[in-house]
């Protein structure tokens, strides 16, 4: 192979960058159905990541985990994705295509937080996330995302307007 070709090839192996930013963030609650025994479902932040990456497919008692996402453009999805999975949904295209090739679909996605609440309350083994201000008696919180950190204990402040 000519030296000139090698030089051209190595020059073409270099390039660019970009960033991410945000203002006052809502507190996100990771929720499951009230029928679930929350004590049985305890997990670490890394396991939450594996659940939403579809790497962890079963709850400890053997039922299939059915994670539900908000749509890719939803602000809460962007925040959840960046904090839990480490990248925005747009950057996960190759990952999900790779799983699709192996017969694993990404989490089911819905348009609104109300749809998340309905899906979770009607689906065995479901887990999702909503703004903590919208928690109601259909779901139980398992974890919180506060200031880009995953916490297993309830935050002291709510960030809710009322």
């Amino acid at each position: 192979m000519h030296y000139l070709t090698i030089i051209v090839l190595f020059i073409s192996m270099t390039a660019s960058l970009n960033a991410f930013s945000n203002g006052r963030q809502p507190i996100i609650a990771v929720v499951v159905d009230t029928k679930e025994n929350v004590a049985d479902l305890k997990f670490t932040s890394n396991e939450l990541r594996l659940i939403f990456l579809r790497k962890q497919l079963y709850w400890p008692m053997g039922r299939r985990i059915k994670p539900v996402n908000l749509t890719a453009e939803h602000p809460l999805r962007l925040l959840f994705s960046q904090t839990v999975l480490g990248s925005p949904p747009k950057k996960q295209v190759d990952y999900w295509n790779g799983l699709y090739f192996n017969g694993i679909s990404p989490p089911y996605s819905v348009n609104s937080e109300e749809a998340v609440l309905r899906y979770i309350s009607q689906t065995d083994g479901a887990i999702g996330y909503i703004n903590a201000c919208k928690l109601d008696d259909r779901v139980n919180p398992l974890a919180w995302i506060v200031n880009n950190q995953i916490s297993m204990s309830e935050p002291a402040t709510s960030n809710c307007d009322d």
Binding site: S12, M13, A15, S16, N46, L50, Y58, Y100, F101, G103
Partner: protein
């Protein structure tokens, strides 16, 4: 034994095609009283690619390279099923401008059942892709930046295995440690003309997935034909991102158990996003390859390409391949292709 296996494969094909027909609703009325979730357990999808090749020493050719159907089933139990049925080169047109279907071939690429004991222990039985190369595990054209495959990932080891696998993922720090242990139980009897034949395949793969993916694989197998012999192989693969530039590399070294030359191969590839210079969703692809097999000599390949992500599931690829030595599996020339998931 061979006849039985072929019969099994044919029956499997019929089963899959039948199941596909069911899942796309040909029998809807008959199952109208079933649970509304019944069909949610089945998933049907697939991928396809088509392209034009203008190779250095051959006539130009246009072809539908493959149409693959992916079919999976999983309910609330711990058992699941997956299969991939591929129609290879169903249509091609060459220099004579005549459409041809003579190269068309139906192939059961994957067909396996998974049983989950826990996240850490799963059993797989059936036909699966040999998990000793990152490229081999993600070999679908819509997942790859180029339509040509590095020689090292195609001609040094069996690309699929009929047997058993134990696999799992273990949370490790902020990522997952994954392992796969596998062994061939049934010989693959359906060899294509230019396909290498392997048997007694056993191996393991360990990978760590985080911002960077690192994989180590170990393989033991017997190769039949001109390079007949027993081999052990070490494989390493790596993928990382540096300021949005994807850098991937794999290397393989075979060791002949008779202390003869075993062969080796490696590649390094980069995919540089061109959005910073105004080409939104375009990527500049560069690859360097080296490959050596006993009795075949050694080859180098370089590849320069541009790939457009038309949609998240669609890629348009243009590539120019050059290098040394003639290798039918990796012809030098120009290729344009389009690949999609459906």
């Amino acid at each position: 034994m061979i006849a039985n296996l072929r019969l099994f494969m044919r029956i499997s094909c019929v089963f899959i095609v039948g199941s596909l027909a069911l899942s796309i609703g040909l029998c809807k009325p008959a199952f109208a009283e079933e649970s509304p979730n019944w069909r949610e357990n089945f998933k049907l999808g697939g991928f396809s690619s088509a392209g034009i090749t203008i190779n250095r020493d051959e006539s130009p050719e246009a072809a539908i390279n493959e149409i693959s159907l992916l079919f999976s089933w999983a309910n609330d139990s711990r058992l699941s099923f997956f299969s991939e049925l591929e129609l290879e080169r169903p249509l091609s047109v060459g220099d004579d401008e005549e459409f041809s279907r003579k190269e068309g071939r139906l192939d059961l690429e994957r067909f396996y059942f998974d049983y989950n004991i826990s996240e850490k222990v799963n059993f797989r039985a059936g036909r699966f892709l040999t998990p000793n190369s990152r490229w081999n595990l993600l070999r679908a054209p819509p997942l790859l930046w180029t339509s040509s495959r590095p020689l090292a990932t195609a001609r040094l080891f069996p690309t699929r295995t009929d047997g058993l696998m134990v696999h799992g993922a273990v949370p490790f720090k902020n990522s997952a440690f994954e392992y796969k242990l596998f062994a061939e139980l049934i010989k693959d009897q359906e060899q294509e003309n230019n396909e290498l034949a392997f048997e007694q395949v056993r191996g393991a793969r360990f990978s760590l997935k985080n911002e960077s993916d690192l994989g180590v694989s170990l393989l033991s197998f017997t190769e039949k034909g001109i390079n007949a012999g027993s081999f052990r192989m070490l494989g390493l693969d790596y993928l990382t991102y540096f300021k949005d530039i994807e850098v991937s590399a794999e290397g393989f070294k075979r060791f002949n158990t008779d202390n003869k030359d075993g062969g080796s191969g490696a590649y390094i590839q980069t995919a540089v996003p061109l959005n910073t210079i105004g080409f939104q969703d375009w990527y500049w692809i560069t690859r360097l390859e080296t490959f050596q097999r006993p009795n075949e000599g050694s080859f180098e390949r370089w590849l320069l390409g541009a790939t457009l992500r038309v949609k998240p599931t669609q890629l348009l690829k243009l590539e120019l391949i050059g290098g040394s030595g003639d290798q039918p599996q990796s012809p030098r020339g120009l290729t344009a292709s389009f690949a999609l998931f459906f």
